[in-house]
């Protein structure tokens, strides 16, 4: 019969590999995403601790308390230990309470929105593409399945997206921003992001919306403030 | 209050409390109604059990003690997790012989009829009407057998 003896070495490898595989959020490209990435790191540490302790205890039991061949005597039939039970109700409660408080803090900052100086862009999802309208200037960018739209934004300035949908529920998602928000017909959602690194970031609809959901792509290109003004003026003059 | 009743009382109370908290936190109608309905459902069962299942093992009346103690004892009696008395005596309902049906064809016929009736919503009343008739016949046969 196969025996089951996880060695210490193997356990260590599993744990380190686990953390590496699960632990990597993409490089955060917005101010808000830095916060989220930090929070994820905290959660990962907590997760690793919980995993090592629990898996370690299970692994230890498996090795240490394996029945020996021919040993038929019953072990001590203990079934309770009140002090221990109190501890293992209390510690997890404290842990999740702490994780909740940290999450609430990050959420409050992320969902706070901007004070008046944000750039306003209206985002409308429709089957199966996107329409971006720059509120102040009226510049409009509409995508097609063959030509996904590009939203140009200035680096360092808060951008408030007003999100809605023309038909079914879609979701505006940019992986590098570590955020998404649903676009729902009949209501307007708001999402504020402040990109802090120039670059082009891919985006994709993240709420299943029908036949060509997989093709509902877009991108966000963050440029310097001057470049952005130039682009806006250009786009306003020549049309989408 | 038997353990059965306490089980549903705790459930109903939990849903009620969470429902109230939820309403004042979110003012969202759907969830609040659903929680209220869950609480109501729990309380209905408690009502049925209280009427239909009087205290089997019986908590001896204990009027002594301070008001706080008496209140705590009442709470324990209504919601408490473990019965403190009469564990040895508690008997489930079943005593004596139990009449069990043998094989029966009514269940599968009823299921078939219900399937026809509902599928007819897609394909037309020519499927629904026979389905309803079949269900009516088989339920009648079931109940009267």
């Amino acid at each position: 019969m196969a025996s089951m003896r996880p060695s210490l070495h193997r356990t260590a490898t599993i744990v380190v590999g686990t953390v590496l595989l699960v632990g990597c959020t993409p490089q955060p490209a917005t101010v808000e995403a830095q916060d989220v990435s930090w929070l994820y790191g905290v959660f990962m540490v907590a997760a690793a601790v919980v995993f090592v302790i629990t898996a370690g205890l299970i692994g230890w039991s498996v090795v240490r308390y394996r029945a020996r061949e021919g040993d038929d005597a019953l072990p001590a039939q203990t079934n309770s230990n009140v002090a221990l039970e109190i501890v293992w109700w209390l510690l997890p409660t404290l842990l999740v309470a702490g994780l909740f408080v940290l999450s609430a803090g990050v959420m409050a900052r992320e969902d706070a929105g901007a004070n008046g100086s944000a750039l306003q862009i209206r985002v409308e999802g429709f089957q199966w593409q996107w329409r971006f309208v720059y509120a102040d200037s009226g510049v409009e960018v509409i995508g097609t399945l063959d030509h996904p739209p590009e939203m140009v934004v200035p680096v360092g300035r808060p951008v408030t997206l007003e999100l809605t949908s023309a038909d079914v529920i879609h979701s505006f998602y940019v992986p590098a921003f570590l955020v998404k928000r649903d676009t729902i017909p009949g209501q307007t959602n708001h999402l504020t992001i402040t990109v802090n690194e120039a670059g082009t970031y891919r985006g994709q609809c993240a709420e299943f919306c029908g036949l060509y959901h997989a093709g509902m792509l877009f991108s966000v290109r963050a440029v310097s403030a001057d470049e952005f003004d130039a682009w806006l003026a250009d786009a306003g003059a020549s049309g989408p | 209050m038997t353990e059965e009743g306490r089980f549903f009382l705790r459930t109903g109370l939990y849903a009620a409390v969470i429902g109230v908290v939820y309403w004042f936190v979110s003012y969202e109608v759907a969830g609040s109604v659903l929680l209220a309905a869950a609480a109501f459902a729990g309380f209905v069962v408690v009502g049925v059990l209280v009427i239909g299942m009087p205290d089997g093992a019986g908590m001896p009346a204990r009027p002594s003690g301070s008001p706080t103690r008496r209140a705590l004892r009442l709470v324990n009696r209504l919601l408490g997790f473990r019965q403190l008395h009469g564990l040895e005596d508690e008997q489930p309902f079943s005593t004596g012989t139990l009449r069990l049906p043998g094989a029966s064809s009514w269940p599968i016929v009823t299921a078939f009829g219900a399937t026809l009736a509902l599928t007819g919503i897609v394909y037309g009343p020519w499927l629904t009407i026979p389905g309803i008739v079949l269900v009516a016949v088989s339920v009648w046969g079931w109940v009267t057998s």
Partner: protein
């Protein structure tokens, strides 16, 4: 139709041999009905699993190789529907059906004919829902969650969608009636001396599961009925353009949907809680606390639903973050209880216990990613990506499926009178463990890298492609393992090569191990005295005082 009084202990009670088709169609015996449920659920496991293998084949490389979007969307919809409702639900109900009367010392369920009705409705529901594949426009294709407004008639006109709704209405009704039956049975048919706190832990999980079903499935049925009325009778419940609400569907669905996943895991917790003590040769540690934790999980499961809706912007993320984090506590406590049961025990690693070990490690991982998703900022990043797919497959596959295999290894000998092959069982276990981890662990990273779920195709991003290849290889491992299991069952049981089990091959604790394998008609010729949670153990070990168990 005949009526039989409960037989006297000296009555001749042999299990009947051979099963004619008429006997199957008219049975009201919970054991046969339970087996029918288990077999049907396993068939749906194979079908829905096959759908996922096709999906994995397509997703191995970017670009659409042999599927089109329309077909792919049907595949993931029916994979989810088949697995959640017809495999998961079917297995849970099948196990409960078979074991509950035996565990409480009853001759059958409280309502045997109702029991039969639930099976036939369940089967009909599955057939109707999947019959969409045979229609011209195909099966439902909007995900097992069926979000409106996508699921409305204008956006999803196919008849398969209506058939999906009707199938779920049929099987949902079956499930509700079944829950009524379980609760009535538990409350009225327990053996003398079996107080509520001497019921086996599996029975408690069946009770709480039934309560969850009773309170959540009607909500699903109502939502489905509303959707059906929208689709076929011109109503506008979920159509915002006509005054309805696009978000209402999500509230109704998830108010059902979250308790549903606990419906799928509580009985597996019960299975694990039954197997660990037997294979540790100790009593279950902290039985009362475990019962309390089960009830608490059940209650809390009704207050977390909108953690599926954090990105909608219309729910109180704070409220649901609190409740969702809170539910991790009683779940975690169960783990420590199980470890404490094994601690200082004498552990045997026959196949049932192997599967339970697999369950412990896999559900630990899945359970750990739960609080990640309960944190709204983290959820904003990973919601609707493969990260979520990884999480729920760890808890549902690593949890429910592993527990189901453990339950089969443990109780199939009781049901059939024959042991499964230990050697095949061990090989199959390791193959499943490796295959499962290869398939689902990399999905965490895939989600973090930004791959959304429910997409038929993805752009040629190297890291995505590499991970998808690994995942697809893992899925082959799972398929081979399931095949091995089928071989084991056929060889050991159908072909009778498994050794005879006898009444109690494992040294079990609860009443089902008192009777023959398989049990006779009406289950018991006699019953031992029930003075603790472990009546059979007490009867076999009179030197040990049962009072110590019964706090």
């Amino acid at each position: 139709m005949s009526e039989q009084a409960l037989p006297r202990p000296d009555a001749h009670l042999q299990a009947s041999r051979g099963v004619g088709i008429l006997k199957v169609l008219t049975t009201t015996d919970h054991k046969l009905i339970g087996v029918l449920y288990l077999a049907t659920a396993f068939a749906f496991f194979l079908i829905a699993g096959l759908l996922s293998l096709v999906m994995r084949a397509e997703l191995t490389a970017p670009g659409l190789q042999f599927l089109d979007e329309a077909t792919y969307n049907q595949l993931f919809t029916m994979h989810g529907t088949g697995m959640v409702f017809f495999f998961g639900g079917g297995m849970i109900i099948g196990l409960s059906n078979y074991l509950l009367p035996l565990q409480i010392g009853a001759p059958d369920m409280a309502f045997p004919r109702l029991n039969a009705l639930t099976f036939w409705l369940f089967l009909a529901g599955g057939l109707v829902a999947f019959s969409g594949f045979a229609t011209a426009q195909g099966a439902a294709a909007f995900g097992w969650t069926g979000y409106a407004p996508l699921a409305e008639a204008t956006r999803s006109p196919e008849a398969g969608a209506n058939l999906w709704i009707i199938g779920l209405l049929l099987s949902g009704t079956a499930t509700i009636l079944g829950a009524v039956n379980f609760i009535a049975t538990i409350y009225t048919l327990r053996a003398p001396g079996m107080t509520m706190f001497r019921m086996p832990i599996l029975t408690w999980t069946i009770l709480v599961t039934s309560l969850l079903i009773l309170l959540s499935f009607p909500v699903l049925s109502a939502a489905l009925a509303m959707l059906l009325i929208d689709r076929t009778a011109g109503a506008h419940f979920f159509d915002p353009a006509a005054g309805g609400s696009a978000i209402l569907w999500q509230h109704l669905f998830w108010f059902f949907g979250h308790p549903e996943v606990y419906i799928l895991i509580l009985v597996p917790f019960g299975v694990v809680s039954e197997i660990i003590p037997v294979f540790s040769r100790k009593p279950l540690f902290g039985y009362h606390a475990l019962v309390f934790a089960t009830i608490l999980i059940g209650a809390l499961s009704f207050s977390v639903w909108a953690h599926h809706m954090f990105t909608t912007g219309v729910v109180s993320n704070l409220f649901f973050a609190i409740t969702s984090m809170a539910i991790a506590v009683p779940t975690g406590v169960k783990f420590f209880t199980w470890i404490a049961t094994m601690w200082r025990g004498k552990l045997r690693f026959d196949t049932p216990m192997l599967y339970v070990m697999g369950f412990l490690f896999m559900f630990l991982i899945g359970g750990i990613t739960g609080p990640f998703l309960a944190s709204p900022p983290i959820d904003y990043a990973v919601h609707d990506t493969y990260y979520v797919v990884a999480h729920f497959h760890y808890v549902l596959f690593g949890g429910t499926v592993f527990a189901v295999f453990a339950a089969f290894a443990f109780w199939l000998p009781k049901m059939t009178g024959r042991m499964l092959s230990e050697r095949l069982g061990k090989v199959q276990f390791w193959l499943l463990l490796i295959g499962m981890n290869l398939t689902f662990f990399p999905m965490h990273q895939l989600g973090l890298l930004g791959m959304p779920r429910r997409i038929a195709d993805y752009p040629p991003i190297d890291s995505w492609t590499l991970i998808n290849v690994i995942v697809s290889i893992g899925s082959v491992g799972i398929a081979l393992s399931v095949l091995l299991f089928a071989v084991n069952v056929v060889w050991s049981i159908a072909l009778r090569h498994g050794r005879e089990a006898g009444d109690d091959p494992w040294g079990g604790y609860s009443l089902e191990w008192w009777t023959t394998s398989p049990p006779p008609h009406h289950n018991f010729a006699s019953l031992p005295r029930v003075r603790s949670v472990r009546p059979v153990f007490d009867a076999r070990h009179p030197e040990i005082d049962p009072g110590a168990d019964d706090r």
